[in-house]
């Protein structure tokens, strides 16, 4: 009896563990809790891209990719537990989709020598590869997002924001506070005043105080740094106090279908930044349907295919897959390890031609990472919600952020971190 039980346990462990030669990319996802609606779509896109590679191409360089999923519930402690419990499986890279978890993992990945990929979130100054050897955040970071939004406002105002009032409505957390310094600096440069309106992270559903203040002060524009229910509540309150939707712009984490749909037609015209395309009108979706959705292999049945957050999860998986491919090319072996994948990230180049080959023409900006630059060009664009059609429309081309303002901030922040952590600058 004991022997039979032991063999059953052994069989279960062997079945659950990745095969020795597989490439392992854990998916630290959140499908439950207050942020589950957002996390589910991202995780589905992430899983489905690797399923596509496995089913269509036999993996990457002939090696299948295993994507073990671990539920973090967007909770920092659980996220760290997930990291600790999966790193021993041969994990090649982590993408935890949480700024809080990212901050906790940065010192850990440096010790464990596993790359951390945080596209559009995490620690902005990790762009500086001289300090953050194991962290990559291309194609864009929060400060890029803030700058691209301000550039859009400049375009709308004939190149000047002098005397304009801009309110920043933000999630009162490490994530929400990220753009403040950048917007202050951009305010000095372009002459706008910034009003900061924090929203309690635990009580995002109730924003009366903030919107009464917006109603009184009538800022020319409201920029939102929200996540989860804070976004839906803010868009509804904006509609309630009749704040013009086309003057309300969110960062990319406040620009998905789940954010605008609860407000119905009232959300029409709301804008957000984004660093990738939207919708299913890309050639890759024909393959996704053929190899993943139709055979019933899509994550959660494929019900979120083509949504903003699904596309973002898929894009993150694509960049990781390309980094692994680059690592295989550099090392001359298909069975790469985490350190080799880091080298792959650092030498990564995703040109427009390569994106077209991958079935996503003009989906994202060109990505070139180097030893110094782990954040790419930072280019982003603006999209606008069309409530009648129920879809986002891209209304600007990819725009470069104001590096003249951003680079000194990134250097100062990363070098302060290096000093504090006793890191010797690389490159």
């Amino acid at each position: 009896m004991t022997l039979r039980f032991a063999s059953l346990v052994a069989a279960a462990i062997l079945a659950a563990a990745p095969a020795l030669a597989d490439l392992v990319v854990p998916n630290l996802s959140y499908r439950t809790g207050p942020y589950g609606a957002n996390g589910t779509q991202y995780a589905d896109g992430f899983n489905d891209y690797f399923t596509l590679l496995n089913e269509r191409d036999g993996g990457i360089g002939g090696q299948k990719v295993q994507v073990p999923e671990c539920e973090t519930a967007y909770n920092t402690e659980k996220g760290v537990e997930c990291y600790e419990s999966t790193k021993g499986t041969g994990a090649l890279v982590y993408n935890p989709l949480s700024t809080g978890i990212t901050y906790q993992l940065i010192p850990k990945v440096s010790v464990d020598k596993i790359p951390l990929y945080t596209p559009g979130y995490g620690r902005t100054s990790a762009k500086n590869g001289k300090v953050f050897e194991w962290v990559f955040n291309a194609p864009a970071n929060y400060w890029d997002g803030a700058s691209v939004i301000v550039k859009h406002l400049l375009d709308l105002n004939g190149g000047s924001l002098d005397g304009k009032k801009i309110a920043l409505l933000y999630h009162n957390s490490a994530y929400g506070k990220e753009p403040i310094r950048t917007l202050q600096e951009l305010g000095k440069k372009h002459g706008f005043t910034l009003t900061e309106l924090p929203v309690d992270a635990a009580a995002g559903q109730e924003q009366k105080s903030q919107w009464l203040q917006i109603r009184r002060e009538k800022p020319d524009y409201v920029i939102m740094w929200g996540w989860g229910v804070m976004n839906q509540a803010a868009i509804q309150e904006a509609a309630n106090v009749r704040y013009p939707m086309d003057q309300f712009i969110g960062i990319w984490w406040a620009g998905s279908e789940v954010d605008v749909k609860p407000a119905g037609a009232a959300a029409n015209g709301y804008k957000s930044a984004t660093f990738h395309g939207v919708g299913t009108e890309y050639p890759i979706y024909a393959d996704l349907n053929k190899f993943v959705v139709e055979p019933g292999k899509a994550s959660q049945g494929g019900e979120h295919v083509g949504s903003v957050l699904y596309s973002r999860g898929m894009y993150a998986a694509l960049v990781i897959a390309e980094a692994i491919r680059k690592a295989q090319e550099l090392s001359g072996t298909p069975t790469v390890n985490a350190a080799q994948v880091r080298d792959g990230f650092e030498a990564l180049e995703i040109t427009p031609e390569r994106l077209t080959e991958l079935g996503l023409p003009d989906f994202g900006p060109e990505i070139t990472m180097t030893c110094e630059n782990h954040g790419g060009s930072g280019m982003a664009r603006i999209q606008q919600w069309d409530a009648a059609a129920g879809k986002w429309t891209l209304i600007s081309e990819f725009t470069e952020p104001d590096q003249e303002v951003l680079q000194p901030l990134i250097d100062a922040d990363s070098e302060a971190f290096a000093k504090e952590a006793g890191i010797t600058l690389r490159c």
């Binding site: 439950t32 589950g36 995002g204 559903q205 109730e206 105080s209 203040q213 839906q232 009749r242």
Partner: protein
Amino acid sequence: MEQFLYAAEVVVNGLMAGVMYALVALGFVLIYKASGVFNYAQGVMALFAALTLVGLQNGQVPFAHMINATFGTHLDTFGWTLPAIVAIALTALVMVGLAIAIEKLVLKHLVNQVPIILFMATIGLAWFLEGLGDVMWGADIKMLDVGVPKGASEALMTVTEQWTGYGFYIDRLDIWAAAIAAMLVAALMVFSQYTKQGRALRAVADDHQAALSVGISLRFIWVLVWSIAGFVALVAGIMWGSKSGVQFSLSLIALKALPVLMLGGFTSIPGAIVGGLIIGVGEKLFEFYVGPLVGGATENWFAYVLALIFLVFRPQGLFGEKIIERV
């Protein structure tokens, strides 16, 4: 004058927010009053009720994901929709069923246990219900439309503009919430004062042993009170879900009910209302005057600090029964 009008607008909106908090707090009071149990699951019950309501209204197949994954089917909806009133009635029945199940599967086995055990059971219940809601109806954010109007009240804006020169903003949903809360409290008062079951409920609340000795069934009263709390959760779920969609963060509204209960008292229905109004107005005024000086986002902090101050000077809350332990 302008500052005064702004402050008045903040006060009115604070009162309205307070009503929304009180709607959640009422469910806690009912169960605590009748059984001495602090029902940690009350916020999740509001979420579960709202999920069920939307699911029934849209004709969604419950457990569709699980069925599809197991049998390879592609079930999603039944292809019909239900009128709001029918869906609300059916959801109320589901909440009664839930109350019966809770009594049979959990409470019955915990009779005579100390309150902390019952409290822990409600923590387990909260996690169970959250998971059940997810598996039954999915994690997506759902739009809830039962015909409650939303957006600024034009009439009020025009009238106040004429009287004061400043058009006050009040969300019509909040006005409805205030009216519904008033009706709910009145109905609960009438029920507890003038019906046999209501009197039995009060008797159990006053003294379990004495109530049992005159033949009142404790198990029936528990089912009754959990059913009423389930209905109150449904009302809270409708009002909060109409605001910004039905989603899993709805369970966090319980966080706003706690300071209301600490302030108003755990055993008083009027206390829940008055506590809600004080918290609502207090937190909004504090944010208006002090928030800008300390970096803002003070509302939750203020609500709990105010409740703490009340606890120090009046542990039973404003309307709670004085705690007297004889040795």
